[in-house]
Symmetry: C2
Subunit: 240 residues, 2 copies
């Protein structure tokens, strides 16, 4: 086996860095974990749970203090799960969350956590975008990434070709977008909630591809944070 | 005037660090801006707007390259507004957002941005908590902090003594909490939406002080991110 490298996008594996992220990986997706790195100072209940999970799933643990420090940039990262990356096929009968060019890793992780919370299990990213397998995303997702079906497409058209017939709901702040509280009263399934980039939002043409929706908000702000907008959209579509 | 110091909580002033945060401070709260620091490399439309705003409000600009670098830790921070801190009295007739021991500066800034977006203008923090005037909070708030009425209390009881009679809605994941979508159908005003700490949530006793509410979510996650929860609560209470 070649030596483990510091994380970069091209690698076929990633790291759930830290005791809790590693535990979450072992709990949610043990079939993706190839081995677990541990620090000699790892101890306590969490450590017991980690060793028990590795034993149960026959996953090798190895002491790797220097590597943990190199990977995390910290002295207090006591465990990491080495996880194979996995792309998924879309479920054409399910509701999807589509993120067009999301660029902020922290936002993306938070969105994945919300998506699992509101049972949007199919997540599509339109590239270029932040790397969903970046350890920072995995951490911010609180392990949610291991329970979701992630797919990437290089254009929205390529996504549509695989997504199957569905209602498209692009979220944008244009004047003719329908207020969210109205839109959910007439929602159709299966559907895709579509959100644009943090700074620029969705290009205007998305409004012609579906029913555009705006989250009612005061003119006192330019826009809501992307992770906040996506969570409100998924909450409103899932709670009625 | 004593020399400006690197930011710390005890100072009576803070910094809107960066061209856009500085512009936002000048636009939203020029009466709080005592002076503006600029870098010799500052140029372009934003720079013109900054100088125009300073001229309009008779605010002094001064070149301070080394100080900008020291304050921001970066070489590309080209402007900063020095802003006096201000605490506000509560509006007893308004709806309030109350955050009990929020500890994450990024979360807090994002929450302030959402609060302005949903017209929750009175924000109360129960200490200990993150410093709302930390430059990182100001930045994440996208300037929203300058349009809100911020107050701090060292206990929830102290807050209640000044808040006036109102309906209290603590957000917690207990079994007997009312689902948010139901709760908003019978909402009473004025009200306070109350959220706990990122890790531990609200202590159980808050349930006895008002109508506890839970955001409907799957058991697949432990909880939503605090900034996400607060935004969903404010959205649901403001959009009906």
């Amino acid at each position: 086996m070649p030596p483990l490298e510091a994380y970069k996008r091209q690698l076929p594996y990633t790291y759930a860095l830290g005791l809790y992220p590693a535990l979450q990986a072992l709990e949610q997706a043990p079939h993706l974990v190839s081995r677990v790195l541990v620090h000699s100072k790892l101890s306590g209940e969490g450590a017991d749970a980690l060793y028990a999970a590795c034993a149960q799933h026959k996953i090798r643990t190895e002491q790797a203090e220097r590597l943990l420090k190199k990977l995390s940039g910290k002295d207090n990262c006591f465990a990491a799960a080495v996880c194979n990356k996995q792309q998924h096929d879309l479920d054409p009968s399910g509701n999807h969350l589509v993120l067009v060019h999301p660029m902020d890793a922290g936002n993306l992780g938070t969105i994945l956590r919300s998506a699992l919370g509101f049972s949007f299990l199919d997540i599509t990213l339109i590239t270029p975008c932040a790397d969903a397998f970046d350890p920072q995303v995995i951490r911010a997702s609180m392990g949610a990434i291991f329970s979701l079906r992630l797919s990437e497409f290089d254009s929205f058209e390529a996504y549509q070709n695989q997504a199957g017939p569905r209602k498209l709901y692009p979220f944008m702040l244009s004047d003719d977008a329908l207020p969210l509280s109205k839109a959910v009263q007439h929602k159709k399934s299966p559907h895709s909630l579509i959100f644009g980039n943090e700074g620029s939002g969705l290009p205007a043409e998305y409004a012609t591809w579906g029913q555009s929706i705006k989250i009612e908000q005061s003119d006192a702000i330019d826009s809501l944070n992307l992770a906040v907008s996506a969570a409100i959209g998924m909450y409103a579509f899932s709670s009625l």
